[in-house]
């Protein structure tokens, strides 16, 4: 491998990582933009998403381990169903968390809501721990092991798939926020919830929608994660979630394009610093850089968007 090939390979690795962080970062940013709330349950909604996708592939399609390779319609059908189911169910979990646990606290000042999300995170973690167990699960991978060689670098089918899924979802979200009525309502609420309410925006519905979208993206990310690493485990939420949260802050929390940019940047930094300095130091580099960015641009790279406090 030449240095150029190596750089290209790490770029591919970093982009794959980054697109997953970006998907996950969107959930933090959507909720924060509307409610100014850091939703820590997001970490484990993502993990539950990976489990739902795994169980769908196992129980629904009889896919176990890495031995079965599907093509054509069965492949699209199995992955599509797993993806859809994990998005819808995770969206449902997100909406339930908002409706039953956070809405009663909306008028409570202070960190009560945030602490509730930490509690929910533990509940989700322990439910999976008790029902599915703590060991590493072999996430089924029905994708053919197709790889393209670009010089000495290897681009695998699953990397392309992950990029495509992430791009489609992020594009869809951007369209939704920019061009639909409810999207406009979301942006209005993010700017000024009081004014939006006075102009006839149903704030409850907007909040619920932000939780649904964020959690559904976490579900999709769980599925993508499982497919990429062939792994699902009860503790995957924390490490990935923390980096995704960092990505959201780096890009400017509340800012949708910022979260995407932050995610991709964190992924690239992680892989390139691992190459140059050593993986033992990648956390130091990531969080050190975050501190630097926040010192010079406290609102993040693209600027923070949060409700005005009146």
């Amino acid at each position: 491998m030449t240095t150029g090939d190596l750089f290209l390979q790490q770029l591919i690795n970093g982009l794959s990582l980054g697109s997953m962080y970006a998907l996950l970062a969107l959930g933090f940013t959507l909720v924060y933009g509307i409610m100014e709330l850091i939703n820590f349950s997001h970490f484990n909604v993502f993990m539950v998403g990976a489990m739902i996708a795994m169980l769908t592939l196992q129980w629904g399609f009889g896919l176990y381990g890495q031995d079965v390779v599907l093509t054509g319609l069965p492949l699209i059908l199995s992955l599509g169903t797993a993806m859809l189911l994990s998005m819808v169910l995770c969206g449902g979990i997100g909406v339930s968390i908002e409706r039953f646990l956070l809405r009663p606290l909306r008028q409570v000042k202070g960190p009560a809501a945030m602490i509730t999300t930490i509690g929910v995170s533990y509940v989700l973690f322990n439910v999976i721990l008790l029902t599915i167990g703590s060991d590493s699960k072999n996430f089924p991978n029905p994708l053919a092991p197709i790889a393209f060689h670009i010089g000495g670098a290897v681009l695998r089918l699953k990397e392309i798939l992950i990029w495509v899924i992430s791009l489609v979802l992020m594009g869809g979200l951007t369209y939704f926020v920019q061009y639909t009525k409810i999207g406009r309502a979301m942006r209005a609420t993010a700017q000024d919830p009081e004014a939006a309410r006075m102009m006839g925006v149903e704030v409850d519905r907007v909040v619920m929608m932000s939780f649904f979208l964020g959690s559904a993206l976490a579900g999709a990310c769980g599925m993508v994660f499982g497919l990429y690493y062939n792994l699902a485990k009860v503790d995957i939420g924390f490490a990935a979630g923390l980096r995704a949260f960092t990505a959201a802050v780096l890009g400017g929390i509340g800012n949708v394009p910022g979260a995407m940019l932050g995610g991709v940047l964190i992924g690239l930094i992680e892989s390139l610093s691992g190459q140059v300095i050593g993986t033992a130091w990648s956390d130091v580099v990531i969080f050190g850089l975050l501190v630097l960015v926040l010192v010079f641009r406290p609102a993040g790279l693209l600027g923070r968007i949060a409700p005005n406090k009146s």
């Binding site: 190596l6 072999n138 690493y229 485990k233 992680e270 892989s271 993986t279 033992a280």
Partner: protein, 412 residues
Amino acid sequence: MISRRSTFKAAAGIAAAATIGVQSARAEDKVIKIGFSMSFTGADAENALRVSQGGVFAFEEANANKAVKGYQFLVEKLDDATATAGQYDPAQAATNARKMVSDKAIMAALGPQMSGAGKAMSPILSAGGLATITPSSTNPDITDPKFAAQYRPAGKPIYFRTVATDAYQGPNMANYMADTLKIKSVYILDDSGAYGVGLADAFQGQVEKKGVKVLGRDRLDPKAADYATILTKIKSLAPDALYYGGVGQAGVKLAKQAYDIIPTMIKAGGDGMQSADLLKGAGFPAVEGWYATVASPHVIEDPKTKDFSDKYFARFKMRPDDYTVTCYVGAQVIIEAVRAVTATGKAPTREAVRDAIQTVSLPNSLLGPISFDGNGDLKDKIISVFQIKKDATKSLEDPDAQFKYVGVAPMA
């Protein structure tokens, strides 16, 4: 970290354990009692039965052959498992040690199976001057002179082993990889845990001495999901082998991703990789070809144990395993020590038996030459090397079926 190979067998035959014992001593002979502290109930019950019968078998042979003139051996079994723990319980092991020490007829002991039990027992045995021989516990601390104040406060070693310790897995595997696998360069990873870092350090020290080029050393965060970065770096350095010191948490992810990125490189780890979790979590084909080591000899497939194996089967109607043999040899050491003491015409005492165990030499045991160093460890420390080779006829998640024995990793 890990005391011995995990086995995944149902706890069957608990009832049988109580009924099998050494035939009662004849009236004219004096009785020497040997304490067996093992996990006769709970999760490891079947193991304990299989292991302890190795010792019982040796004492039965000795009694029948009158190996020690004027004396008969009597086995006293003590269970170190409790219903609350569901397996061995260090507190119960300590109680057993006290019971054995207070029974004046007990001259030596066999056991325990687990290092956790051994740590609880050794200070008590040391105070009572009672020697024990463990057939399976491999934690290095118990016999490490650094911890002598803790595990043998009375001074002399009382904890002897017929297995090696985990401290030798790294260096011996370094020898194996340099000499047998003929690697010229290696990349070393650890999982940042105490066990993993220690293993990787010990491996690195020896592999450098053997003249193998260490192309790099890095640390995995066991909670992180992505090791593609480091594996890509390793791929670009193109070493002959990858050595990983650590347990399954990072190991499972490493094995999966290494299969994608460096599928043909030689990959090896310690007993942390010798687990069902690896087979279940990473699965085939990712785990295929990985090497792992265990700090005990693997003799049961060796032709020289066939005769023992057949006799044992005839007596107990079950097949022995490696730890049956280590326990059998442990019992032979005790018999030899008692014989040496009584041969001088003296009545055996604990003190004399302990001193005799220290100097026993069995040049041709089923495990090879047996003699102990000044800490109670074997002089010849045998580390067994296993390699994962898919056997589709058996359960793909059963370590006993999928890890194939490939040889001994030699000492320096």
